[in-house]
């Protein structure tokens, strides 16, 4: 039985998804303001790390990293509705790439598992 990461296509799938996912985030009025003024190359690297984790791939994230990394955004009002939006955009990205609903559900579940850490709860 291959892993979720392998079924999705591994690192190549992350590379295929990252630009599309980042574009969706930048034009979505619900979340785009959190990305104003950030260095785009560095942000793309962060998105790749996030997608790798959500795709079930190798990563070094800890709950503490998630808390520290998002604390400044929580201070600016990051809440559940924004996490919902990101998970939705992640699903839309994968759907465009032809990923099955079953696998999309598994990716969403991994992203969901970080919610409380991201929101600092």
């Amino acid at each position: 039985m291959s892993t979720l990461f392998e079924q999705l296509g591994g690192a190549a799938a992350v590379e295929a998804a990252v630009d599309s996912f980042y574009r969706k985030v930048l034009v979505d009025d619900r979340v785009s303001h959190f990305f104003d003024g950030v260095d785009m190359d560095r942000q793309r690297d962060k998105q790749k790390a996030f997608l790798t984790m959500a795709f079930g791939g190798p990563h070094n994230y800890t709950g503490k990293d998630m808390r520290v990394g998002h604390a400044h955004l929580v201070a600016r009002g990051l809440n559940d509705s924004h996490v919902d939006a990101i998970i939705e955009l992640l699903g839309a990205t994968l759907r465009e790439l032809g990923v099955s609903e079953d696998l999309i559900g598994q990716v969403a579940a991994i992203a969901e598992s970080t919610r409380n850490d991201v929101l600092g709860r």
């Binding site: 990252v18 630009d19 980042y22 574009r23 930048l26 034009v27 003024g37 785009m40």
Partner: protein
């Protein structure tokens, strides 16, 4: 707290303070400009102690190995003994000519008196005999035999004042570098190229365009140069000539206000996207003031250009 040893004296470095800031606070003269780890003007050499990796980012491997580092980006864990960057990192050069090509842009051409390898579009640090150092993009190709820079003259700027009132053909200067990875890469000669910049952002773009055309690039090459007003545009004749010679090259000038023959009016991103609405598959080069570069990167990306195909060089102003 730690210490910096320099020219036989010991200086206190406060927590979180860079080597450059510590020396400047203590009244030591160290040439510097951007204070953001980019321009290279503040390069020094470590003679004792450990240099953090971050302070050597972007330097040539041979320089790293010899302990060179950027003092503005260097906040070491312990004490550090440092020396000024020696002459062997610099190439002596002479001013060939100086020409005012627009209201506030001076074309400076230099002839190097020693080896200086570069790619058009990279940048160098220019040092005057008096020790003023500023970084500029290179607008010429190696085979031109001269190094061409476009300097925006700023009121009160030290390099600007020198160029405006003192510099003469034949004067000795030095160049250090080059650095930067915003240049033409041969490879996919069919890929369409978009180049966009405002003001002296034209300098690296002019070099990259000529490099691409000379290398036999076959895909479309579109250069957009913007200025506040028509008077801020320059190199118009050279670019028109280039367009007449190369069927695949197009030059578009744009201004924010006013009007003129063959000049578009409007924001740079709007002018570009009106002509090329879908940038999927294009490679982009964006140069100029940081806010414009940031905005264009985002617009090009959202219009379909892949992030890995966007090459940008934001011109950092000298820090106060």
């Amino acid at each position: 707290m730690g210490f910096v040893d320099f020219e036989g004296r010991r200086y206190e470095r406060r927590d979180g303070e860079s080597v450059l800031d510590a020396l400047l606070r203590c009244g030591v003269e160290v040439s510097h400009s951007c204070k953001a780890g980019s321009c290279g003007a503040c390069m020094m050499r470590a003679t004792g102690g450990a240099v953090p990796e971050k302070a050597q980012a972007g330097l040539k491997d041979t320089w790293k190995a010899r302990g060179y580092f950027l003092s503005c980006a260097c906040t070491p864990d312990g004490d550090l003994a440092v020396a000024t960057a020696e002459a062997d990192t610099q190439t002596p050069a002479r001013v060939v000519d100086l020409e005012l090509v627009s209201g506030d842009v001076m074309r400076v051409r230099l002839r190097c008196e020693g080896e200086f390898d570069f790619r058009a579009g990279q940048y160098l640090t220019l040092r005057t005999a008096a020790g003023v150092a500023r970084s500029y993009s290179i607008a010429s190709l190696p085979e031109d035999g001269v190094v061409e820079l476009h300097v925006r003259l700023l009121a009160g700027g030290r390099m600007s004042e020198w160029l405006r009132s003192e510099a003469r053909a034949g004067d000795g200067v030095a160049v250090q570098g080059p650095a930067g990875d915003c240049f033409y890469l041969p490879g996919d000669v069919e890929q369409p190229l978009l180049l966009a910049g405002t003001g002296t952002g034209l300098a690296p773009l002019y070099g990259i365009v000529r490099d691409a055309l000379r290398s036999g690039h076959r895909g479309p090459v579109r250069l957009f140069h913007g200025a506040l007003r028509v008077e801020g545009l320059y190199l118009r004749e050279e670019l028109r000539r280039l367009a007449a010679l190369h069927e695949n090259f197009e030059y578009v000038a744009a201004v924010l206000a006013g009007e003129g023959p063959d000049v578009e009016v409007g924001e740079m991103d709007g002018v570009i996207l009106r002509r090329i609405p879908d940038l999927k598959g294009w490679r982009g080069y964006v140069c100029g003031d940081p806010p414009l570069v940031q905005k264009l990167k985002k617009k090009l990306f959202l219009s379909g250009m892949a992030m890995r195909d966007i090459h940008a060089d934001a011109f950092l102003p000298p820090a106060a």
